[in-house]
Amino acid sequence: MSWSLRLPFLSLSFSSRAVAVGFGLLLLVTLGTVLALRLGSYTFTETSWLSVLLGAGSEIEKMILLDHRLPRILTALGAGACFGLSGAMFQTMMRNPLASPDVIGFNAGASCGALMAIILTGGNVLLGALVGALFTAILVVGLAWKNGLQPQRLVLIGLGIGFALAALSDLLLSRTDARTAADMAEWLIGTLNARDWQDVRVVWSGLLLLAPAIFWIHFPLARLGLSDDLSSSLGLRLSPLRLGLTGLGILLAALAVCTAGPLPFVAFAAGPIARALVLNGRPALLGAAVIGALLVLAADTASRMVPSVQLPAGVFTALIGGPVMIWLLMVQFRKGKL
């Protein structure tokens, strides 16, 4: 079954399964957000969180909910959506689920750049992350280029560069004083600890600015899932399209990394989970964004639920993403793609 939408300026078609999955996911995000608002070292009752949101409650309750939890949750959702989108774009473009920015070193590059910006210049984290991710992308793609871009080469070279960049980050940490290094180490695993409204503004205004480009690129990206020859014979211009997708994917990854740290496996797992749910062979960008947001929200809420040890959220996304990676590797092996 499929539905058609026809307006004078816009016409689209959806499969009913994709629409159902979309509504289900939106419901999950709403429920998850409410739960995340209520739960934590201070627990709100079933109704009190709402009255605090609406302006009632004590000063402390207001501070907890409005100054700490809400910005943290919104940052988690935004960063997760960025990771999910970025991952799904690279995976669809390369037709390989392993080609996500956290596997092929782009996230490591972004965090390395951010670290350098903080330690060496004390400067802008976003700019550092962007430059780092961009530089890594040029390096990885440049090294992997051999009569075109081959996914396997890209994944292997990206893995290698990722490890090298992680080592560089460690080196940077060892050159700083112990206190900064401890903070940075936590950030490098990925954490949403102490996020404020500034982070919310950065990640959501970035997403909003990029939204038209994402909507526009979804159309050719869906066709790119066919082979190069086919997408080219359907009239797509492959090189400019790939360039645009790479740029957009890097922007999104850098945006996520500079607000939530290089949370592992979110970009990697969101796309395949969304595609498995929708199962219509489309890139499922929106689904990947929502799943990414859910993953980060769940990981961050879990990390707040065990306050005594203060595990960073990255530990939890790794716990979720690890099994997904094993599942995908097994599927790839079975298909003989590895």
Partner: protein, 260 residues
Amino acid sequence: MNAPARLHAKALSVAFAKTPILKDLSADIPDGKITVIVGPNACGKSTFLRSLARLQKPDSGEVLLDGKSIHKQANRSVAQRLAILPQSPSAPEGLTVRDLVTRGRTPHQSALRQWSHQDAEAVGRALELTGMAPNANRPLEALSGGQRQRAWIAMALAQDTKILLLDEPTTYLDLPHQIELLSLIQSLNQQNNQTVAMVLHDINLAARFADHIIALRAGAIFTTGSPTEVVTRNNMEQVFELRCQIISDPVHGTPHVIPE
């Protein structure tokens, strides 16, 4: 002298890693006809077809579509006039037949106009013509080889082009399915007056379905013409190094090769 064909190859040369594949090859793809490109393995058939479809950039020479170099025209505009189905195409998992056929509409669509009435019509027509309407909502991987190939042809049909190029469309099909598919292509050619050019391995099928045959040997044209002109004892020996007798197909009257 007829008007020049819409699709024309002019002195094409292509080399891979300095090994020449096509050498100074010029040919017309006659309008409204079925042209079949034949030749022994590694003679450059596929490279020739891919060059015609602008998927392979020639080292020298050019392909003219409507009188202009195909590589100098907007890719999208070319895609509105010329469709190619490459050899063993692949699609992402879970893609349904209808979604695949819809993708054939890409050169007529945009991000804002993804599902116009014309799109719906063209997709419906392509599904009808190929007999794939009953399977429209099934995922591609659930189909048999013959059905899958029909689905791909339906995608190329939905593209709604005057010229259709097919690279070995009968690969992996058994004989009944080969005949079925080629008959479908023949009826499309006759009903829509679509120009078809395809690579086929089987010289007897080529002789039966082609209006015009281009025989390649070692990256150059050996001879061209109607099946009766091309499929002769002498030509078969020189192109394929095959000693054979030629008889007239008792059903269709086309030349039929009996290897000795």
